[in-house]
Symmetry: C2
Subunit: 101 residues, 2 copies
């Protein structure tokens, strides 16, 4: 089944913020921002694959990512442009691991 990927305007800001307000998910988003597209399996951050799948679902349903199936793998990428257009500065502010000061 095709994964559900919402229109960004349908997602409340609080949902986007909540999606980003988790350590594991934030690491995932940062990895995607740096590495571009990534297979789900490569986004391992010390959690089980069930948990990983759950987090990727949260990100997807918050409108932060898109998922493309290829073979047995699924490739995830950030919806960077759309996010930047709708919430300029949000991802930039959040993606830098250490405060820009």
């Amino acid at each position: 089944m095709e994964p559900y990927e919402p229109d960004l305007t349908d997602v409340p800001v609080t949902a986007v913020l909540a999606a980003l307000a988790d350590d594991v998910r934030l690491q995932m988003v940062r990895a995607l921002a740096e590495g571009g597209e990534a297979a789900c399996g490569t986004l391992d951050f010390g959690v089980s694959k069930a948990t990983r799948s759950h987090h990727l679902k949260v990100l997807r349903e918050a409108g932060l990512t898109r998922t493309r199936a290829a073979g047995t793998s699924r490739y995830v990428r950030l919806r960077r442009d759309e996010m930047d257009q709708l919430y300029p500065g949000l991802l930039d502010a959040v993606l830098t691991p250490r405060p820009p000061a």
Copy 2:
């Protein structure tokens, strides 16, 4: 007792995001961004004063607000400049009720 107000660099980004990822708290932040300083009592958004106090505590401990006591009231204000310096674009992206598109 003086309320605890952390150094912004001591607060993990996820805590800031989590603080903003709630409807009531987001309304509070928006009200503060528009109206400047506000007494706790004026930040009524349909929740009890106990809940209101709780949310203000979350915002304060996330480094988003400062609280000043005056008489029986407490005045809350956004730490706008500090936030903008540390996370440029974050508040801007979040404060507009309707997407800027």
